[in-house]
Symmetry: C2
Subunit: 228 residues, 2 copies
Amino acid sequence: MKSFAIIGLGRFGSAIARDLEQEGGEVIAIEKDPDKVRAYENEFTSVVEADSTDIEALKDLGVSDVDAAVVSIGGNMGESILITLLLKEIEVPLVMVKAVDELHGKVLKKIGANNVVFPEKDSAEVLSKRLLWPGYNELPLAPGLFMVEINAPQKFIGKNLGTLQIRKKYNSNVIAIKRKKPIINDDNQTDYEQIIIAPPTAETKLKGGDAMILVCSQEKIETFRELS
Amino acid sequence: MKSFAIIGLGRFGSAIARDLEQEGGEVIAIEKDPDKVRAYENEFTSVVEADSTDIEALKDLGVSDVDAAVVSIGGNMGESILITLLLKEIEVPLVMVKAVDELHGKVLKKIGANNVVFPEKDSAEVLSKRLLWPGYNELPLAPGLFMVEINAPQKFIGKNLGTLQIRKKYNSNVIAIKRKKPIINDDNQTDYEQIIIAPPTAETKLKGGDAMILVCSQEKIETFRELS
Ligand SMILES: Nc1ncnc2c1ncn2[C@@H]1O[C@H](COP(=O)(O)OP(=O)(O)OP(=O)(O)O)[C@@H](O)[C@H]1O
Ligand SMILES: Nc1ncnc2c1ncn2[C@@H]1O[C@H](COP(=O)(O)OP(=O)(O)OP(=O)(O)O)[C@@H](O)[C@H]1O
């Protein structure tokens, strides 16, 4: 059972606290605004009203025993820098800090932050692709590697993946097929439920309405778009 | 050449503006704080100091001709709601709006926002996994589907992917191999450069030091961890 300290319940802090709790983690959240403490107090294992620049408060709350801490307080760069220093001082093994900009990030690295994160920048990277290529839901996975969802082109329908030789012909890897399966819903009407076939095999045959989730290079995305 | 209007140059707005420009998009940024306008004025195609709740200003700036607009102003929910309304009124085809919370998101949807986004929540989803399982770099791709990076287990080394039958035995798809290739760097010393083999083929043989980037279900991640 992993335990975490979340410092600051802003949008990022509260979201990460929620995700950690959902995955079975134990979260102690430290927030100095009493309204926010009240708003979240029943949502996490423990929500405490305290100023995390106070090292004694951190020690009393057992923060030195957590597996990792996340510092997500905005605005004042100096405060997040101080808190990061204190957390390393009380020997929290992994300290992830949300940085406001590159310079702030550099300072945090120098004073011991294990992970410096830029949440808005990371999401912008994914979302900008959705604006540039709407309907293609591309996600950058690794340098030069993208995950993209495309509707199965007309000429692929009725063929199985083995025949289509997508890996060979298009240098891409089909990691899943999204298919709408007709069902009868609770109101006794025909509806569709989405099923995901992952991983698909050479025998998986594409049907009308299928979407393929592929991994490929940026240039290949263009090729697939032209096919659709 | 796609054109975009970015309303509000906060951390998210400026990051998405930057990504769009980098991909060849034309960005007109509208920001009401003169200091921010000055800070960014040479970075984007066009940075204008204006209050985007002013529909005449939006029309004069040609915002109705853009392919998409991003509303990323924080704090005041009312303002982003008003701006979204105006953008749909002047017929911007795609309006993406950053929401402060679920309720704000619901209102934005009702008044016509095409995409409602929660940047901090999205990054928290990815980053929380890194805290729960450090070194495994898991990325949720689709419901029940994760991308994970694991070091090639000892017993896989020297074998090729065809022999290992990872898809069959582990119901997982190896989408890439990360390998460190020894090189001589500019200081004439032995160094390593990272290469990515994607997609790998049945003949790709795993070497010591390789990391496999896989797509699999959450349960399979456990299996791979035990193998490593
Ligand atoms: N010293 C502190 N100790 C505990 N909590 C703090 C401290 N300083 C600030 N906070 C809290 O951190 C939270 C996040 O701060 P703020 O909203 O300024 O940051 P932000 O970077 O804009 O957040 P986000 O983008 O994640 O919403 C606030 O709820 C604030 O009360
Ligand atoms: N009516 C407006 N017209 C143009 N710009 C605006 C308007 N209202 C606010 N802004 C600008 O939007 C930017 C983002 O606002 P703010 O920093 O409050 O939001 P935020 O959600 O915390 O941003 P982020 O998390 O992306 O940094 C600010 O630079 C602000 O000056």
